[in-house]
């Protein structure tokens, strides 16, 4: 499995520096579960963060700050969170934290004969969901008001911008108009994050899109 489409430095840096929103963070962390190259880049970015922290001019603390902290060293600590159970089907752990289990256990909501989805969360205008398309499924042509991030978890799809397989991340901004088609063979399962609703061109999808939270 070789990954062809990575998040750019800007996205990786948003994750490493902690400025990425949670949904974008989820898609980057899930990509990194597939991608040693981006893990290495983020590790380097965190080292840069450490170096920048070291070189910041100190902001003096109040005089009692150290003593107050020393006095708290012996406070009882809440029980540590147990490690997550291992996945049975290879679902990346960052995603399992939101699914509460494996991809194979997801209860899909159908929309039409060949498409299903599972909302994960929505915060402000940003939403994260799983999409599942039967082989050959076509998602109607659409453009975007904001950004659309699509990470392939299983199967693959194709559109004007290229081919995407497991671990590949597609980033589409408001200039991209595309109609992705799922590869033949197995179901295509994607993690999708949108920062604003999609704009569908087909009338039915125009009506149905908002119902399904697209």
């Amino acid at each position: 499995m070789s990954i062809r489409h990575h998040p750019d430095e800007s996205l990786l840096l948003a994750y490493a520096s902690g400025t990425a929103d949670e949904a974008t963070g989820l898609i980057i962390a899930t990509h990194m579960a597939f991608c040693p190259q981006c893990r290495q880049t983020v590790t380097l970015m965190e080292k840069i963060g450490g170096r920048l922290l070291e070189t910041l001019p100190a902001a003096p603390l109040s005089r009692q700050a150290l003593d107050a902290t020393l006095a708290r060293l012996d406070e009882p600590v809440a029980v540590a969170v147990p490690p997550r159970a291992p996945s049975k089907d290879g679902t990346p752990q960052p995603l399992r934290a939101y699914l509460g289990g494996d991809l194979s256990g997801v209860r899909w909501r159908r929309m039409g004969p060949s498409l299903a989805y599972k909302p994960l969360f929505r915060r402000g205008g940003i939403s994260a969901k799983l999409l599942r398309g039967a082989p050959g499924t076509e998602v109607g042509a659409h453009t975007h008001r904001g950004m659309e991030y699509t990470l392939v978890l299983a199967g693959g799809f194709c559109d004007v911008t290229g081919r995407y397989g497991p671990g590949d991340l597609q980033v589409a901004d408001s200039h991209v108009r595309h109609s992705p088609i799922a590869d033949p063979g197995e179901d295509c399962i994607n993690l999708a994050v949108t920062t604003a609703p999609l704009k569908f061109e087909n009338l039915i999808q125009k009506i149905a899109g908002p119902l399904f939270g697209f």
């Binding site: 800007s10 520096s17 963070g25 380097l44 963060g49 450490g50 922290l53 001019p57 603390l61 150290l66």
Partner: protein, 210 residues
């Protein structure tokens, strides 16, 4: 904002240490950074409060500074700096000097505390269960890391100012790159290409394949 950012461009590092710590990698790594890592190991191994206090004196004011740059009011930044240091005390046994320096480790602690306490979001985290470790534990890891840190700090100093600035803004501005671009009056593509060029330089300084 610009002058503010440039004034802190990688100034010299002056640690305040109460006690000298054993130094093993002095040839490859500035002794003060090694001393900080050694203090952190002492906290982990012997729950040494003097070592903790020395780490506090060095890092807490910098964590406060970091959080204030990202917009936290002084009182909250100070509370969170103390929380970060408490977290260091409690998690010191997890510190792996072969993986990160004390500064890098504290940076990730402070970053995550801020997401949790100020942004009130979760940070989706990687889990080593998802992948084989890139390289097995190796006696040379600590030495490799130490020389990497030296090369990284040199390479950061040598970055062209326009690249150094977008890197700094990425850590300290809490703004998307599109907004950083607007404020600098340059296209987003230019910000992204500066970031890409900076990362290529830093990776090659560390001998990473791009």
């Amino acid at each position: 904002m610009l002058a503010h950012v440039q004034s802190c461009e990688f100034p010299r590092f002056r640690p305040v240490l109460r006690r000298a710590a054993p130094v093993r990698l002095a040839m490859t790594r500035p002794p003060e950074a090694l001393a900080l890592d050694a203090l952190l190991r002492r906290v982990a191994q012997t729950r040494d409060r003097a070592a903790f206090a020395a780490l506090f004196d060095h890092f807490a004011p910098r964590i406060k500074s970091y959080l204030m740059r990202l917009g936290a009011p002084a009182a909250q930044a100070e509370d969170l700096a103390q929380e970060a240091m408490l977290s260091l005390w409690r998690k010191a046994h997890l510190f792996d000097p072969a993986k990160a320096s004390a500064a890098t480790w504290l940076f990730t602690i402070a970053r995550n505390l801020r997401i949790d306490a100020i942004r009130r979001e979760k940070r989706p985290e990687l889990d080593p269960q998802d992948f084989q470790p890139e390289a097995g534990p190796d006696a040379d890891d600590a030495i490799t890391l130490a020389s990497d840190e030296v090369r990284l700090r040199e390479a950061l100093k040598d970055l062209p100012p326009d690249q150094a600035m977008v890197i700094q803004q990425s850590f300290f501005a809490d703004k998307p790159h599109s907004q950083i671009a607007d404020e600098l009056g340059i296209p987003l593509g230019t910000v992204k290409s500066r970031l890409r060029l900076a990362m290529v330089r830093l990776k090659s300084a560390l001998g990473n394949t791009p």
